[in-house]
């Protein structure tokens, strides 16, 4: 297994407005959707039972919102590093995420400010699939302003 980038935390003073957040691409299979639903303790059948999902007007099972936000935090800290703290995530939901497609998170740094003992970076991001925007959002990430180890 390759060593993830987030073992190193970005240096807040070097982050600039306009910086790209490293994209995160997920091959969304039925297993990905079911594993995410159960790991977040969401047992709604639309997230694991295709026949049931069809009775609800969907063409297939679809990703639950707690998985959407779980991937948001992975996307942000894979880029920012393990000493970065996700302080705020706000998403607006769009098209559903069905299996058999790719979900791609992309984002850009849009702001930075010193707040208490942290350097806070604001990011605008979206996650898209073949149908369009699955979600669009903003996040705030807190970086230590004193370098730790």
């Amino acid at each position: 297994m390759k060593l993830p980038a987030h073992r190193i935390t970005l240096d807040w003073v070097e982050i600039r407005i306009g910086d790209e957040v490293t994209p995160l691409e997920i091959d969304v299979t039925p297993t990905v959707i079911v594993a995410g639903a159960i790991a977040t303790r969401d047992f709604m059948p639309v997230h694991h039972d295709r026949d049931y999902a069809k009775t609800q007007g969907a063409s297939d099972i679809f990703m639950n919102i707690l998985s959407d936000t779980a991937y948001c935090s992975r996307f942000l800290t894979d880029w920012a590093g393990s000493n970065a703290m996700v302080r705020r995530v706000a998403i607006r939901l769009g098209v559903p995420m069905f299996p058999g497609r790719k979900l791609v998170y992309t984002g850009t740094v849009v702001g930075r400010e010193q707040r208490d003992a942290e350097g806070v970076v604001k990011v605008e991001f979206r996650a898209t699939n073949d149908l369009g925007d699955h979600l669009v959002g903003t996040a705030e990430i807190g970086f230590p302003t004193v370098v730790i180890s």
Binding site: M1, P4, H6, R7, A35, G36, I38, A39, T40, R41, D42, F43, M44, P45, V46, D49, Y52, Q56, G57, A58, S59, F62, N64, I65, L66, S67, D68, T69, A70, Y71, C72, S73, R74, T77, D78, S82, N83, M85, V86, R87, R88, V89, A90, I91, R92, L93, V95, P96, P144, I148, S149
Partner: protein, 189 residues
């Protein structure tokens, strides 16, 4: 029911608890097995979640839970038998007054539109989390691409065993009168 009656009934719900219980406590303290399961499901190998040696040297000084796992700790223990018959509800229906009033008024469609997390501190192993959810706002009737609807926002405040707030979550849904519902307008959470 007139529009004014509906407005009055909905206005009375602002600040009221969502569901029958004011507060729900997590069935288990924040724990490593559930964190590891979560990390594996999302392939999130941030070492502060699962590597004690790494976490000890991090700003946190110990293992912490993924921040957006916050809601997972207080999710109800599901009653699997009959879940489909209950419309997917993991537990026996807990009357959510706002939603039933809107259903009765014809706003039977439900579409989740927004989710927002505010994280005050990361959770540590052993934290016992409680959640209290209140209705924050209900919008006036608006025309949407799905039909006439009202946006309902609730806010959940998460506290630790000392009663200190560790995070908040806002969740917004559109309750709408369906007129030709496209596929995406499906109940989701």
């Amino acid at each position: 029911m007139t529009e004014q009656d509906l407005d009055d009934r909905l206005a009375a719900l602002i600040g009221q608890p969502m569901g029958s219980r004011e507060t729900s406590q997590a069935p288990d303290p924040v724990n490593q097995p559930m964190i590891r399961h979560w990390a594996a499901a999302f392939e999130d190998w941030n070492p502060v979640y699962t590597d004690p040696d790494w976490a000890a040297k991090s700003r946190f000084g110990e293992i912490v839970a993924p921040p957006l796992m916050l809601q997972t700790w207080t999710m109800a223990i599901p009653k699997i038998a009959g879940i489909a018959e209950r419309g997917g509800s993991p537990v026996e229906a807990e009357g959510t007054a706002a939603l039933s009033i809107l259903d009765e008024a014809g706003f039977v469609g439900t579409l989740a539109t927004n989710s927002e997390f505010e994280i005050l501190r990361y959770l540590r192993l052993g934290d016992v989390i409680s959640a209290a959810t209140t209705i924050e706002s209900i919008s006036p009737e608006k025309q949407t691409r799905l039909g006439a609807g009202r946006f309902v926002t609730w806010v959940t405040t998460y506290t630790d065993e000392s009663g200190d707030v560790v995070g908040r979550q806002r969740f917004r849904i559109l309750k709408f009168r369906p007129d030709g519902v496209p596929e995406r307008a499906i109940s989701s959470r």
